[in-house]
Symmetry: C2
Subunit: 230 residues, 2 copies
DNA sequence: CGTGTGGTTGATAGAGATCAACAACGGTGG
DNA sequence: CCACCGTTGTTGATCTCTATCAACCACACG
């Protein structure tokens, strides 16, 4: 049963190394929350609610410009967390979060979580490591957006997202993938088509949501802006 | 004397709350380093050297694309730190760092620093807070680059960088400011000119490196993409 | 079946990059 | 004092990538 607080907590990498007593403490403070697809979980500027852990489903974390344009920062899948940053820094949510599909989350409310943090050194260290990963993730994001053109971004994304079998299974809609790469869905579509025509990628027959990498070397060159098609 | 390890350490906000004994420990492990303007401090991909604290001068942290283009992530001024992320996450440096002017830095080498971290809960908490700020900073950066046009980015930057007197003193060259905003120096120049022509900003006579904000409301509107000139 | 959502393709337009010339300095050395 | 140079910043002309607008297809679902 994936809706049990303990089960969700145990599936969370961020808190994997939290020990017996301390874990019970987290279980005790946790609240299970369910969201229907499309429900807004929190808005930019909201008071920090605490740490969310996704148990099932998919959560879209995104920014919105004054003119209404969205930019997806992250698609959070089960076992991962969101809103930790605001919870720990104790400042307003820097982004929006909504359920991209029906989702079950665990919320560790801010106050008791911070109390636990103050007393649990292991938890603190663990979080520190995860924050370092976050910062690295963002550096990668900035690097992508500022230094690469559309083809480069798509190529890099595919190389990173591919399993060892060389197949990328999209976690969500192409629309979201495009937004994450700071492209419109139209240019993403065109770019994938060009990569397909060049023979660098292919779609296993019938599967719309899968992409097979056919030439990683070439893709690597494209991601470095050295490809044949720029 | 700003080259003394203790003095630099005391001027560092990140470590402000570190107490007597623990501070001595940091002082003991610290190495003072001097860099001439233009010297590379570390490169992307290098093993994590540890935590750097700027004592004097200015350090440019930047990314480089395969084609040689640079993007400035951060200009680090005295009292601030860099490379903490790699040091704590224990992964290769995600960016380059070079001395933008002659600079004196303090290095807390990775190993002893991590040891201190494992034993000092207060230090850990402090770092956690500062990491949260880092992540927020990056969210802001992504927000800027993806959701705003050139004028919007410049306007927001000016509003954030201005002192209470409404004057922005550029810490470095316009070139760096442009790169930080993901613009070429040419478009930055043009954008500033347009803002000047509209009467939103002005340069106090004779001062090339200062910008005075004349109409914050209007600048705010421009930063939200609602300005008169888009 | 209509209707809606997601995705593809085509035509056009616009923001900003790029290329190029030049002005304003500040040093350096004769 | 002035000629020379390197750096920084400004301005102009052009080009290119990507967004935008619009039509259309495929598929799912009531």
């Amino acid at each position: 049963m994936d809706t049990d607080a303990r089960t969700i907590l145990e599936g969370c990498r961020l808190l994997a190394s939290v020990s017996g007593d301390q874990r019970e403490r987290l279980v005790a403070m946790a609240e299970v929350r369910r969201y229907e697809r499309g429900t807004m979980i929190f808005r930019q500027g909201d008071a920090p609610p605490g740490v969310f852990i996704v148990g099932a489903g998919l959560v879209r974390v995104f920014l919105v410009s004054p003119s209404g344009k969205q930019h997806v920062l992250h698609l959070v899948s089960p076992g991962l967390t969101f809103a930790e940053v605001a919870a720990i820094g104790d400042f307003p949510c820097p982004a929006f979060a909504e359920a991209a599909s029906d989702a079950t989350c665990l919320l560790l409310p801010e106050r008791p979580f911070q109390a636990a943090l103050r007393e649990d050194h292991a938890l603190c260290l663990q979080l520190l490591g995860s924050f370092a990963m976050w910062v690295r993730h963002f550096v990668g994001l900035v690097e992508d957006i500022t230094l690469r053109d559309a083809a480069g971004r798509v190529a890099r994304f595919l190389l990173e997202a591919a399993g060892p079998d060389g197949v990328v299974r999209l976690p969500s809609l192409k629309k979201d993938m495009a937004s994450r790469l700071n492209l419109t869905s139209e240019t993403l579509s065109r770019t994938l088509r060009r990569l397909t025509d060049e023979g660098l990628i292919g779609s296993p027959a019938g599967t719309g949501a899968e992409i097979r990498l056919l030439d990683r070397d070439q893709l690597g060159r494209v991601s470095d802006g050295l490809g044949p098609n720029l």
